[in-house]
Symmetry: C2
């Protein structure tokens, strides 16, 4: 069974929701048969690279609240994160374009390192002092820590077209599936779960989707002209 | 709706089946809403690079038939291909490892060039004299003709690990879905079509899958802790 998770590195609920989902997955009896794929969703897709600033004033401006109230919201998110065992730095975080991070996550996918990379990116963004924005070498370090080749990661980051189509395709697919926010979890393209739900909701969803998963229905029943490990069907002279 | 096509460049029925599917797709009213993804399936996954030889003796040996009978089978495949408007060289073709081609197809996917590349690979293998096996520069030329950067393609081909995990993952997924041969068409992970069926079968399948496609079922109905374009849900102090 395949679980696709649309998320953004700048999204605190994605960080928290991933931990809740993983708690459910760790207890799921068929966990070894679940494939997890991370998909791109930029909260602010038009944001230019370099447009980086502190989180708290951004929240205050977006909601029309005071910086004190915005800080209180961050503090409360820190409480939710801590409840999942996650470090969360409630002061001095930055906010900026995540496009390069999404491109790098697609690069990681080919080497089977997406899960490692997204977790390290979340930790770097939410728990560590050094900003992950506008700092190519920081992202290269994170990529290397996730098991990727540093030079290759640097080349991907230097080429703004690399994996750009994949990021855009993920975002279009999210829109087609009806996702308007993240995290958004899709189980075998049959079931959707929106938001950082409690682990129990994910556990029930995994159970339900697993129980109802259906084999492919074959739409033909005639002999197939096909090739397999033992060779190809040989057409008869007509 | 998404159509995934598992195939191998060395598989003549994949070349023919793709043309039949595309004939059906061209006449399908919702063709602009169909995403086609090509997935890897090596007919001979253990075959080492460099183990390349002529097709006709390989067919003869595999089926325990004479080379004349094997040549007649190739001639008949040429007739089937011609009926779809495809060039097919029935004499002097080679057979070898397709692993590098599959890796390059995954590379092309990130640039949205998979469809162009697989078609050019098929034409090169089935219709042109120069072998596509053990000839890195031939593959680089084909990649460039499909709109990819030649140097990047060369780098992918030079690194045997590049996209290797993606090829293997596709093959494992095919096995999970019950595919034992190719071409194998999967519509929205709901319907499977095995083999180079007539265009009418693909047309009916597209109709049926389109008519029965269902939106995601949401497995939760409570308020979601999520982030969207307008910001993130703010947790209340507990």
């Amino acid at each position: 069974m395949r679980v696709e998770i649309w998320s953004d590195i700048a999204c605190p609920w994605c960080y928290v929701g991933k931990a809740r989902f993983e708690k459910a997955l760790a207890a799921f009896p068929h966990r070894d048969e679940i494939e997890v794929v991370h998909r791109s969703f930029e909260l602010d897709p038009g944001r230019p690279k370099g447009d980086t600033g502190p989180v708290v004033p951004m929240i205050a401006s977006k909601y029309g609240i005071s910086e004190e109230q915005a800080q209180a919201a961050e503090d409360n998110l820190g409480v939710q994160a801590a409840a999942e065992g996650l470090a969360y730095r409630t002061r001095g975080r930055d906010h900026g374009s995540t496009f390069d991070m999404h491109r790098l996550l697609h690069h990681a996918k080919q080497y089977g390192r997406q899960g490692e990379l997204i977790q390290l990116m979340y930790e770097a963004n939410f728990a560590e002092e050094r900003s992950v924005f506008d700092d190519t070498e920081r992202l290269v370090e994170i990529a290397a820590a996730a098991g990727l080749d540093a030079d290759e990661a640097r080349a991907v980051l230097a080429d703004p077209d690399a994996y750009a189509a994949e990021v855009r395709a993920d975002e279009q697919e999210a829109a087609r599936l009806g996702a308007t926010g993240v995290p958004f979890f899709v189980l075998d393209r049959q079931y959707g779960i929106s938001g950082a739900q409690p682990a129990e909701v994910f556990a029930q969803a995994l159970d339900q989707a697993w129980g109802e998963r259906s084999p492919l229905r074959l739409l033909d029943d005639g002999p197939a002209d096909a090739c397999g490990p033992d060779g190809c069907a040989v057409p008869q002279p007509s």
